[in-house]
């Protein structure tokens, strides 16, 4: 590499870093700065250093607000996320296993239906009607069912694609030894499917944790808030306390940030493979 070329390439690096940082880091810095301000300062919406640093007391105030509603929201969100993701993984892996191994007409019909599930938006009031009829409207369980229904297609597509790379000879050997379907699935398939399962877990977890629309419709009422709904209700309750609203943003962004630091590779892989062969 010549000196000129080296300088040229450094120049591209520097320029891209500056532009992308301004566009993509500044909004997050703004969140952080506003969350540390006093109510009066935050209401100015200025991008400035807080005159007094109140981040931790603001966070504490948000956590204590309304009889510790934030804690209830975190509990509900955790229940929702863990419950949904568990079911998505098992139901999705069961389906993807038979779908890929048989590859018959039923499997192609099933995969067409899964594709429709990725595209078609939820029918809001008829879903409420169905939940009410089953007596699970306004319950976390009911919401879990809806989230599972809407995330299953993604899981099935990712898992089925990966299933193709697990050699059939492995199942056949076990079958010759007289293993039952469940045994084949749990002792052979599931462990080998693990990399794809991690991808499904991480991507669905982030998606469901961040979901706003489905909880808004199917889990209304202040007893049942999820963390995303707290943002929505704080928007009206904290109308003059932007510092607290942004402190709430800081708090609820921490879990996905942690996921991102540990699982970035799986998330990117999941979102691209799931997408490209969708």
């Amino acid at each position: 590499m010549t000196v000129r070329k080296f300088i040229e390439s450094i120049w591209i690096d520097a320029a891209s870093l500056v532009i992308i940082s301004i566009l993509y880091i500044v909004p997050f810095v703004f969140i952080f700065l506003t969350a540390a301000k006093t109510p009066a300062e935050a209401a100015l919406f200025q991008f400035s250093w807080p005159s007094q640093f109140h981040l931790f007391s603001n966070i504490r105030e948000v956590m204590m607000f309304g009889d510790k509603r934030m804690l209830l929201a975190f509990w509900n969100s955790a229940l929702l996320t863990v419950g949904s993701v568990t079911l998505i993984v098992f139901f999705g892996a069961f389906g993807a296993f038979v779908m890929q191994r048989r590859g018959d007409r039923v499997a192609s019909v099933a995969s067409a239906i899964m594709l429709a599930g990725l595209i078609i938006p939820p029918a809001v009031v008829p879903t409420i009607f169905t939940l009410q009829w089953l007596g699970i409207y306004k319950t976390v369980f009911g919401l879990i069912m809806v989230e599972v229904a809407f995330q299953l297609p993604f899981a099935v597509i990712v898992l089925r694609a990966f299933m193709a790379s697990i050699p059939r000879e492995l199942d056949e050997a076990a079958i010759m030894d007289g293993a039952s379907p469940l045994r084949v699935f749990f002792t052979i398939i599931l462990p080998l499917l693990w990399p794809a399962i991690v991808t499904v877990i991480v991507v669905s977890a982030v998606f469901i944790y961040n979901d706003f629309t489905l909880p808004l419709y199917f889990l209304p009422g202040s007893q049942n808030v999820t963390v995303q709904l707290t943002l929505y209700s704080f928007m009206s309750q904290f109308s003059s306390k932007w510092n607290l609203l942004f402190a709430d943003v800081v708090i609820i962004t921490i879990p996905p940030l942690i996921m991102f630091m540990f699982f970035q590779r799986q998330i990117v892989a999941g979102m691209t493979t799931g997408a490209i062969k969708g």
């Binding site: 891209s16 940082s21 599972v148 199942d171 940030l257 991102f260």
Partner: protein, 292 residues
Amino acid sequence: MTSNMQSRAVLRTYPYWFYLPAAIVFGVFFLVPTGLSFYFSLTRWSLFDATFIGFDNYITFLEDPMLMSGLRNTVIYAVLTMGLKVIIALPLAMLLTSIIRLKGLLRSILFFPTLVSTIAIGITFAALMQPSAGLINTVLGSLGLPQPDWLGNPRLALYSVALVDVWRGIGIATVIFIAGISSIPQDYFEVARLEGGTWVKFRHVILPLCRNATFTVILLAFIGGLRSFDLIWAMTRGGPGFASDVLTSVIFKEYQAGFYGLSTAGNVVLFILVTIIIYPLMRFFNRMEIEL
């Protein structure tokens, strides 16, 4: 053991009842409500009783300027966000697959907003777009540029929200393009390098050979755009007036007002819109797909 018996033993290992858990949940909570929506959209509905009124809800839809502008805005929003995501993310992906040293870091920075709550992003940008003291207008003002009221101007609000949507979606689009470009065999780039510069590489290698990734980005962005709700709701609630209402926000407003039949008709309109746009597009893309 004969091979016939053997293959039957193998098939028994892949029993249809493995579909059951997924089929029940998907059937009850997705297929049934979707099917019901066609019927209930033809009724005046209070959840407890439904009166059949034929196509009245759809006629209301066609005659109400607010509902129709919601339909138009949905299409504008989806086309605009999809187009901008493709136009911006493809060159970015080229940049991030070239020799640039910081590509890992830059890719992470671009991708992170994908994982942040849409409502949080909406709140943040509503503050940044605040007309007098907001950061965006402060910067524009100091450069001597006009300072629009991003979310308060009815002619601008929808586009302002669309820009934030693009900001958020660039990361995932770029990552898909990067996967597409990385799957192109290196030889093609060699030839392009000998034949000419970056333009040749873009026009004759990346554009045709990363077609599958382009199709994916278009489809994902289009579906997302047509169904988009949270960001619009967090930033403008469809306002000012009805200026930035889209079908999903209309569905929500009608639901809140207790017009369940009308809300469901909105759902069916969205269903039809998504299907008539996405399904032919998918068929077309499938035919055009290339194997590398």
